[in-house]
């Protein structure tokens, strides 16, 4: 059954199910994750399979939930917190940033926080400004947090299992448009783990290296298909975890292509992929560049509501195709 095509919801549920079976200390807590099955249906039937103790519905108390999860880790549990929309992490920020991220360091190593915080991010569902943000950059700027952004069902399952194994707090950001779409590649049955901090080269080309995260990975791959017809070929790299960040494949690829483009949904100003650009600008690959770095990101605005406005606010496939064409044509 190696050709199973799952959606990301299914893949995530499978990962959590494996972890719940493997480790008695794993439990899930969040709002409406029980009988309702999760706001995006990710926990699904887990409540019926593992019971209300381990699939624990909570009141609407993000700070309380994350704090309780942090406390549970200090006593030997491995909680997975589901925050319905990553925007709501703002409610829980003290526990994420001041507690979870720093406890191991502050107390000199005697305690650690093996916590996974799953949250749905991104736009495209018409949920508007308070339910559509891409906030990964907030967390990447906090030492002590690992930040994972799966781009497909296959990645989601393997990365989530590694995140649960990790002895540190992991912020796991799932793009809500990916939940219901089958991936491009099959999801193996059973447990497999994708290490955190290893970038994946999804496709190799000669003209342009594109680094993208989350939903943008699939958009870049679609753009690459289209550009292929013109003879413009892309190398597509998905860092998968933005903290820690593995830059080696990017450097290696730039040696061949000499051109870099980064694509993210988060607003451009202060966005995380700027870090990728900074590392290229200050690192060993600068001398390979034959073109200025191209950057495609969300507009510096809150995510708007109306579908045409919402689409215009973040990079779409034609935007990627156009930008890639330009950078390759202008800089030879």
């Amino acid at each position: 059954m190696s050709d199973r095509m799952l959606t990301m919801s299914e893949a995530l549920r499978e990962a959590m199910s494996i972890a719940l079976e493997e480790r008695p200390e794993v439990f899930i807590l969040g709002e409406d994750i029980g009988i309702y099955g999760g706001a995006f249906g990710v926990t699904g039937d887990l409540y019926h399979r593992f019971g209300k103790e381990r699939i624990r519905d909570t009141p609407i108390s993000e700070l309380g939930i994350v704090g309780a999860a942090v406390g549970a880790t200090l006593s030997g549990m491995r909680p997975i917190v589901e925050i319905q929309f990553s925007d709501f992490t703002a409610q829980a920020m003290d526990q994420i940033v001041n507690q979870a991220a720093k406890i191991h360091f502050m107390v000199g190593g005697g305690l650690h926080v093996p916590l996974v915080l799953r949250a749905a991010g991104g736009s495209g569902t018409g949920a508007a400004a308070q339910h559509s943000q891409s906030l990964e950059g907030w967390f990447a700027n906090v030492p002590g947090l690992k930040v994972v952004i799966p781009s497909s069902p296959y990645e989601a399952k393997g990365l989530l299992l590694s995140s649960i194994d990790d002895p540190n707090p992991v912020i796991f950001i799932e793009h809500k448009l990916l939940y219901k779409i089958p991936g491009r590649e099959p999801v193996p049955e059973g447990a497999y783990r994708i290490p955190l901090g290893v970038s994946r080269v999804l496709r190799e080309g000669k003209d342009l290296t594109v680094v993208a995260t989350g939903i943008m990975v699939s958009r870049v791959l679609s753009a690459a298909d289209e550009l292929d017809k013109d003879g413009v070929t892309l190398t597509v790299i998905d860092p998968r975890t933005i903290s820690p960040l593995d830059m080696d494949p990017v450097y290696a690829s730039l040696e061949k292509t000499g051109r870099l483009m980064v694509v993210q949904e988060a607003p451009e100003h202060g966005g995380f992929l700027n870090e990728v650009i900074a590392k290229v600008a200050t690192g060993p690959a600068l001398g390979h560049l034959i073109a200025p770095v191209a950057r495609l990101a969300g507009m510096n605005i809150p995510i708007p509501y109306a579908p045409q406005l919402e689409k215009a606010a973040v990079p779409q496939i034609p935007d990627i195709v156009k930008a890639a064409r330009e950078v390759v044509a202008n800089w030879r």
Binding site: G258, G287, H288, L289, I290, A291, P292, N330, W331, R332
Partner: protein
């Protein structure tokens, strides 16, 4: 019964406070005080504070002067107290912060950053992508000669590639390194061209010994002369005297010329120096001169005695005050020509003649 002596100090009251002004003292010697009674007032740049008695007791002595500025930890007055008050006078200035700074502070005896012997010539700013720049440098192409076709008047990689000709010859890494090295040496010499200088010449019969010792004899002898003549052993940047003698010896390397610097060669025993030079020759031939031998010279020696070259006009390298060359012995009368070039700002022509005399006498 007041059985414990306790000094009330100028307290640290904020994270940054280092000293405070003693505004007033509210008690006199012999006064009985209760825990919590105000003893004195203190002012800092941030706040004024009342300092309380930590315990019941009697004022034994007043140390602080009203109106004076006192360091944190300095005693202001002394009490006899009924209970023992916690007090830790370790009497050392090493606060935890200071200790941490010590760890971070760089080691004092680190070697100074090497002086750049070869300084690139500054040209007009040209816009070029990094890889185009790198290619141009490797191929010895002046970017100013290339017409940019990229956006914003930027030279693209393709622009440089095209300028190499329709079918550019692949150049080996070694060839391009040689070319770059040649160019750098030429640029360096270009920088010293404007320096007023003179070259003097004398014959010497030392050559047989020198040949046998592979330059060690001339290097150590010249180093001794330089050491004695402090006016030529200095930094041309700030004219500060060197406390060592650095002699650059021009050698062959796989990339062309190399000029490793021998520090205090006159202080090394002859056999030792000979071996040092030989080892360095082998390293230079492989293109690997030790980093510590890349700087610190005030003079250079071009020893041609093992080749059939009669003489060469030595040229000053940047930051050097003198340069020496040694030619091959004359086929019939056996003497060889030694040339000395000096920077006239540090050494006039007569002093130069004296230097050359000293050298040949010593040889």
């Amino acid at each position: 019964m007041n059985k414990f002596e306790y000094a009330v100090i100028m307290p640290k009251m904020s994270m940054t406070m280092e000293e405070g002004e003693l505004l007033s003292i509210r008690v006199n010697v012999g006064d009985a005080v209760k825990s919590g009674d105000i003893l004195f007032d203190v002012a800092t740049d941030k706040i004024d504070m009342e300092v309380e008695s930590p315990a019941d007791g009697v004022v034994k002595e007043i140390v602080g002067q009203i109106g004076s500025t006192m360091a944190v930890g300095a005693p202001v007055l002394v009490l006899f107290t009924e209970t023992q008050v916690m007090s830790f006078d370790f009497n050392t200035p090493s606060t935890p912060e200071a200790a941490i700074e010590e760890v971070i502070a760089p080691e004092a005896d680190q070697v100074a950053a090497p002086e750049p012997v070869i300084v690139p010539v500054v040209e007009k700013t040209v816009m070029a992508v990094p890889k185009a720049r790198a290619l141009a440098e490797h191929r010895g192409i002046n970017l100013q000669d290339i017409a940019p076709t990229g956006p914003y008047g930027t030279i693209t990689y393709e622009d440089v590639n095209k300028s190499l000709g329709a079918a550019p010859q692949p150049v080996s890494g070694l060839e391009s390194r040689k070319a770059a090295n040649r160019k750098k040496v030429a640029q360096a010499l270009e920088m010293t061209r404007g320096i007023p200088q003179i070259t003097l010449s004398r014959f010497s019969s030392h050559t047989t010994t020198s040949l046998a010792q592979g330059s060690a004899h001339i290097v150590s002898t010249w180093a001794r002369i330089v050491r004695k003549n402090t006016h030529i052993n200095l930094s041309t940047h700030d004219e500060s005297a060197h406390d060592f003698v650095g002699v650059g010896l021009i050698m062959e390397s796989k990339y062309g010329l190399a000029i490793p610097v021998f520090r205090d060669p006159d202080l090394s025993p002859g056999a030792h120096l000979q071996e040092w030079i030989q080892t360095t020759r082998v390293q230079a031939a492989e293109g690997k001169v030790p980093v510590q031998m890349l700087s610190g010279a005030t003079t250079s020696i071009f020893d041609l005695s093992h080749r059939k070259i009669a003489s060469a006009i030595p040229m000053l390298l940047p930051s050097h005050t003198t340069a020496l060359s040694v030619g091959a012995p004359h086929a019939s009368f056996g003497e060889s020509e030694i040339n000395l070039t000096v920077d006239l700002r540090y050494c006039d022509a007569l002093e130069a003649a004296s230097l050359l005399d000293q050298l040949i006498d010593a040889l």
